[in-house]
Structures are given as C-alpha cells and as structure tokens.
C-alpha cells in the first residue's frame, strides 16, 4: 500500500452499534494455535459477506474490554481454541447454555479475565446474547511465541467456517459468498498480521530460508 492509502485506511469507521449478530474470533495470534479464533474469523470474512447487522470482529485477548460488544449482541458466535481434552485438531461446536459461563474471581491480572466472565457479566447486567455458539478446536501447540497454527489445526479452518455458516443460517443470517476477498484496509484483521505475511516474516523462517 502506498503512503496515501495507508494513511486514509482508518478513521470515521462504523462506531459500535447497529448490529445484532456478533461473530468474534478470540485468542492470541502470536502463540501458535492460540491464534485459531482470529484466523477462523479472518477466513470467514475472506469468503463471505454479510448484512450490516452482522459484525465480524477480531477480539484478540481483550477480555472484559469486549463486554460493550458482547452485551450489544442478540446472537454471539465465538471462534476459539478450546481445551476440552480432545485430540489436537479436533473441532467442536457448542450451543447456547452449554457454552460455559463460569469463572473465578481470584484473578491477579485483567488478562486473567476469561471469556466466561465476560458472558457472566453481560448476564448480570441483564443484556446477554439470546443465542450463543462456540466453534472451538483443540490446540496442539500453544507454547511457540511468534509461531503460527500447526498444520492439523490450520487444516480445520474450512470446516470451522462451514460449521459457523450452518449456525448462522440456523439463526436466520444469510451469508453471501464473495467472488474475491475484501480489499486491504477493509478486512476484519490487520493487513500487517495476515497469515501469509505473518508466517513468511517470522525471524529465522523468512525469505533467507526459501
């Protein structure tokens, strides 16, 4: 991107509100399979367009700071790496009250705010989503700082997208297949962190090795 486009990319964009369905990818893309949720919502965004009432979001590890969006949503679909003691790469879809919403208060850092707590807080505020779904995959490796998705987790992304589409259709949301992915600056994730760029630029794993 040139200087002018780079600078004009942001600003004045849609302020929170005006949506009823939130598709949220959560996790930390710097920690290998922890990035599953973000990569999945990026893949959904690359392949499908939605009506303005459907908001796709890269939620990172923002914990309680996601509450403003979660409590504004009638329907919430979450992509995340889940630890349910399955085989690495196994995928599960969990619906409604089975999405866990319990967590402890003996936390030492705001970063220990589990997403369960965000859901519980929304519930206590009397504004929690009516419908919930979690599309999760069992991670293989989390402890690889700067690493990317492991092949068997990466391989599950198309299926995760399909399962998410099924949930959304069940909710009455109609996805529209795109002929090409959105332009830079228009995507759900940051262009600087897109998977191919992220993987190719890894120190010691980049161009010099190719």
């Amino acid at each position: 991107m040139g200087a002018a486009e780079m600078q004009a990319a942001g600003g004045g964009a849609c302020v929170e509100g005006g949506f009823d369905t939130l598709v949220l990818g959560i996790g930390n893309l710097l920690w290998a399979d922890e990035g599953f949720g973000i990569r999945a919502v990026e893949a959904l965004d690359a392949g499908y367009a939605f009506a303005p009432e459907v908001r796709l979001m890269d939620g990172g590890t923002q914990g309680m700071f996601l509450l403003p969006w979660v409590r504004s949503a009638q329907r919430l679909l979450i992509f995340d790496a889940i630890d349910f003691g399955l085989e690495p790469g196994e995928l599960r879809v969990i619906r409604d009250e089975r999405v866990p919403s319990y967590m402890g208060a003996k936390k030492v850092s705001m970063h220990q705010t589990g997403f369960q707590e965000v859901l519980a807080a929304a519930q206590l505020m009397g504004a929690s989503p009516q419908r919930l779904a979690l599309v999760g995959v069992q991670p293989e490796c989390l402890d690889d700082y700067g690493g990317s998705l492991r092949p068997r987790v990466h391989a599950r992304i198309p299926e995760a997208v399909e399962r998410a589409l099924a949930v959304l259709r069940d909710w009455g949301v109609e996805p529209v297949a795109r002929s090409r992915p959105p332009a830079p600056g228009q995507r759900v994730g940051h262009d600087e962190l897109e998977l191919p760029v992220y993987e190719a630029g890894r120190p010691g794993c980049g161009a010099e090795r190719l």
Binding site: G11, G12, V15, E16, F65, R71, G104, V108, E192
Partner: protein, 594 residues
C-alpha cells in the same frame, strides 16, 4: 538466608511459614507470589516470579518497522493501544519524523481515553472486590444505600427503588448457582470492613461502570477506525478530518467525541471519586503496601502539549525520577543514556555474557536460560517453592541508575507533585484533606489505588483540554493528520536507532529499536510490569511488588486477600492468554500454605 538487609533498605527474613499464591494460567504469562510469614502472620519475605517476557526480537527481527505496531499490540491483551503508540513513536524517533499538531492531539486523546477506560475498569472490575464484599450487599437496606449515595454525590441514580432492583438482580444471579465474576473470592472474610449499604452501592456502580465503558471506547473507534484493535500509522494518525464533509471524520463525529468526554467527566467525578473516598474512609488504618513508593519512583512524563517536543516542560503530566523519597529533587531521565535504564538477569531465566552487568535496551539480548536454584522444592513441572537465591523469574530486572523503581499512577502523581504541578497538587491535597490523612499516607496500597482514581479524573478532564486544542487547530485551517514524507524506506538511513516511550496506564513503557537496511534489527521493550514485578538484581535490591508486601499482616494465611489487594493495586499486566475455555471453569488461583 534467614535474615538479611537489602541494599535498598528492606529487611528480609525467610525463616517463617511459606505461603504460595499461584494463579494457574494455561500457558506462559502468570504471576506467582510466595511470602514467608512470622509467628504473627506478618509478611517478612516476598518473592515475585512471573513468566511474561520473551523479547520482541523473536517475533520482529527482519520485519518492516512500519508494521511493528500491529505486532506489539498483540503481546498484551489489555495494553494494545499503548504498545502501538510506543512503537510508532520509536520508529518516528529513529527516522527523524515530525508529526503534525492534529496527530499529536488525536494521539493524546486516544491515550487519555485509554487511561480513563482502563483505570475505571480496573478499579471496579478487578480491584474493588478486594475491598467490597459482594455477598454482604445482599443484606443491605436499599433505603440506607440511597441515603449513603445522596450524602456523597449528586449522581442521579440514587433512589431506594433503583438499589432494590439491583439487589434483586444480584440475588437472582447468586441464587442461580453461579456467582460469575464474583465466585471464589473470600466473601465474609474479616478483612472486609464496609457496611452492607456501602457494599451494595459499590456493586451497583460496578455494573454502571462496566456499562459506561462502551461510551469511552467509541473515541478509539472514531479515530482508530476500528476497535478493539485501532489502526495506527508511522507519521501521524490513520484518519483524515474534514469538518464539513460526510466521508471522513466530520463535525458529527467530533460532536460525539465531545459529548462522550463530558459524560466521562461526569461519571468519574460523580461516581468513581466519591466511591473511592467512601471505601478509603473505612480502611484508613490499613496503611500497608508502600514498599518502594516512599523511596524510588519513575515516570517518563506524558501528553506532549505541542508536537515533537519531549521536554518535561512541554508535558501535561511531567515526569522524572525520585530517589530515596526526596521530593525536593526530581531527577531528569534520559532514555538514551546507556548508564540510566538497564536490565539485569542475575535472578532471571536468561543469560548474559556477564550477569553482574546490566544492559541498556539498545544493546539488550533475550537468551532464555531456565534453571532452578539448589533450594527449590518440588519438580521442574510442579514447583512447590521457588529458590529466590538463584534465577527465579522470566521477568528481567530493570533498574534506573542501578535503583529499583516503582512505576504507575502513584509514581506519576508523586513525581508531578514534587515538580509542583498545580492541578495534581490540588487533587492530592484535597483528597488527603477530605480523608484527614497526612501526605506520607499516599505511600501505600491505598495511595496507589487513590492515585489511579485521581488520575482517571485528570485524564477525563484533559480530554476536554486536548479536544478543544484540536478544534482550535482545525478551525485555524490546519487539517494535516500525518507526515508521510519519510514513508518509503529509500528515504531512510542505512542504519539508525530510536526510542519511543509512553506513560501507559500501568506505568513507564519504552521500546528501543534498531533499524538496518529498512528492516528491524533489534527490538527491546521494557514494560511497566517488568519494573514493578521485577526480581532481585545482582546487588540484591528487591523490586516494587516484593517491597510492597513486606510488613503486611494477614488476617488468615489461607485467605491471602491482603496479598491480592496490594498486588492488584499495581494493576499487573502479564502477556498472558488465559481465555481458553475449560468445561468446568476451574479456579484461577490456588493457595498453598507450607
């Protein structure tokens, strides 16, 4: 050991019973505290160990410096914006880029908004529950709560019916079998001192504060184009302003920002500050937790009033360093001087060629070296007790001219107070007067908590000042928001170094970078929690967390509410990723008494 005096003046005694507070985190990033208690349950030795820092060069070496902000945003779940801002400042410093006045104002607004939101959410969501007993709120008389509310503030949501409704909602929530955010705490502990009506008032405001944050974040969305990860750009801000247009940021958006600023000021001054005073009035004799705050404090200074001028005289909140509690002298801090900021690893799980020496971040290296000391107990995968005589933390030990320093809101407030900053002096003196406390009372856990509250009010009011400054500049016809003259790498020198610093909500944050042939060659960050959670250095100086815990009496060693209170007062920040869902939602902290 048994008994020893550290060079920075603290007495450590590890002969007594050992208590371990170990929040369980699925992957790296947790903080663990171990303390030794004497026969009266007073903390006589404290050990802070964390796994938070792996070095940014591992992910950034060889990448485009203009993209670094997006990566640094991801190292920390809550501090996204501050890392991005530090990163673009570091690159601009390295490349000699001056930013336009509008960009300076908008960045200040974004940072002020982040402080405001972060402090508010930290106080109500994380820290208030160390002082407020949620379960006791169920026993409150809504009428008494209403009277209390009306006696401390003009906040309109104060009727008995309103508090009765909240109480009923809370009761249903508790009776549904899940306390949600309130489960697994130490409810009913003798360490809690508020009457039921004050507890109900605070819990009600907890809900209002969580609700209100959705207004504040709109400021980031408007100027950053998206949330929760706004866009940033080297050279300015990634948005264009056209007061008369309808595409970019126009008058409609600016009016919205203005109204959010007014609402923020009202909420903080009518809810947060009165709550802070009300809660503090019940804990005035809980004077523990001062630690390093009465000795050594560091702030880089923040909010450059005019763009591209980093002198403290140009800062809306001037910085500097205080040594040995001498408020009559504020030392100037030079982040480029190799003798000033240095990191040590003698007690950290890294190796240096010479571990007696510290390294300035421009020369920093991050070579992991995990090795448990001879006196540790347990196994490598299940550490029962750490050996603080050896390497014991993944956190490095940053020092300023060899001194362990406390950073954060209290450090900023004491430094600005010592510099004679009028608004901050008025705020501090006013609060102390209202509570009937002397100045030294601020060197405590409660002082740290109070400084964060006062700062939240300060940042909300400063948003108004900066917004008016932005509008005046726009009205004068200047609409520039970025300087893209040096965007292309062919305009850059072959080699250059730079440093960017920001006063983040949790304290002094710096990024030191080295650019070579258009790519990042080295990237080192020293983050606020590294200063505060620091392990010991080669000379034996203890860091801010360890110092703050010493001398604190615990009501019950099995219920470490006093430890959490003091650690929470620093608002710890760990590069952690703990949101991974578990089916049973297991407890995040385990307490082991040995």
């Amino acid at each position: 050991m048994t008994k020893q005096v550290t060079p920075n003046g603290f007495t450590l005694d590890d002969s007594g019973q050992r208590v371990v507070v170990d929040p369980i985190c699925r992957i790296e990033g947790h903080l663990r505290i171990e303390v030794n208690l004497d026969e009266n349950n007073v903390i006589r030795n404290a050990v802070s160990t964390g796994a938070m820092w792996r070095g940014l060069e591992v992910i950034l070496k060889g990448r485009d410096p203009r993209d670094a902000w997006a990566f640094t945003e991801r190292i920390c779940g809550v501090c996204t914006g501050v890392h991005a801002l530090t990163s673009v400042r570091a690159v601009e410093d390295a490349l000699g880029i001056d930013i336009p006045a509008n960009a300076n104002s908008i960045r200040n607004l974004m940072l002020l908004a982040q402080h405001t939101q972060d402090h508010l959410v930290h106080f109500y969501h994380l820290h208030a529950l160390d002082w407020v007993d949620v379960v006791s709120a169920l026993k409150a008389d809504p009428r008494a709560t209403s009277e209390l509310q009306r006696s401390i503030s003009n906040w309109p949501k104060s009727s008995p019916g309103y508090f009765r409704d909240v109480q009923a909602r809370l009761k249903r929530f508790v009776e549904s079998g899940q306390l949600g955010p309130f489960s697994n705490a130490y409810w009913g502990s003798a360490a809690y001192r508020l009457p039921p009506e004050a507890n109900l008032m605070a819990v009600t405001h907890y809900l209002e504060a969580l609700d209100f944050q959705r207004e504040i974040v709109k400021i980031h969305t408007i100027f950053g184009g998206r949330n929760p990860h706004p866009n940033w750009v080297v050279g300015g801000v990634p948005c264009s302003i056209d007061v008369n247009g309808d595409g970019s940021i126009n008058m409609e958006w600016l009016n919205l920002v203005s109204s959010i600023i007014d609402q923020s000021i009202t909420f903080i001054d009518q809810v947060y500050i009165p709550d802070l005073k009300a809660i503090a009035s019940f804990y005035k004799d809980w004077t523990y937790g001062g630690g390093l705050s009465g000795k050594n404090l560091l702030s880089y200074g923040e909010y450059p009033d005019h763009p591209n001028d980093w002198s403290q005289a140009n800062m809306l909140q001037p910085g500097g360093a205080i040594l040995d509690g001498d408020l009559s002298k504020v030392h100037e801090v030079d982040v480029r001087d190799p003798e000033q900021v240095q990191e040590f690893v003698a007690h950290s799980w890294y190796s240096y060629p010479d571990e007696k020496q510290g390294l300035h971040p421009w020369d920093g290296i991050t070579e992991p070296h995990f090795e448990l000391g001879p006196n540790f107990k347990g196994t490598k995968t299940n550490i029962e007790q750490i050996d603080e005589g050896a390497k014991y933390s993944f956190i490095k030990a940053p020092r300023w001219r060899g001194h362990a320093m406390e950073v954060g809101p209290l450090a900023r407030y004491v430094v600005a107070y010592a510099r004679g900053h009028e608004e901050i002096r008025d705020q501090v003196d006013g609060l102390l007067h209202d509570l009937g406390l002397p100045l030294p009372a601020i060197f405590s856990t409660l002082g740290r908590t109070a400084a964060r509250g006062l700062e939240c009010s300060f940042t909300a009011h400063k948003m108004r000042y900066v917004f008016d400054q932005l509008m005046a500049n726009l009205k004068a016809g200047d609409t520039a928001t970025a300087n893209m003259d040096k965007w292309e790498p062919d305009t850059w020198p072959a080699q250059t170094r730079g440093v960017g610093h920001v006063e983040a909500p949790r304290g002094a944050l710096g990024h030191w970078i080295h650019i070579k042939d258009g790519k990042l060659e080295n990237y080192q960050a020293v983050v606020p929690t590294t200063w505060n959670a620091s392990p010991r250095d080669p000379a034996g100086n203890i860091g801010a967390y360890e110092a703050a815990l010493l001398g604190t009496p615990m009501v019950d060693a099995e219920q470490p509410v006093e430890i959490l209170r003091t650690i929470h007062s620093f608002d710890p920040c760990l590069a952690c990723s703990t949101h991974v869902m578990a089916p049973d939602g297991e407890e995040l902290a385990s307490v082991k008494v040995r």
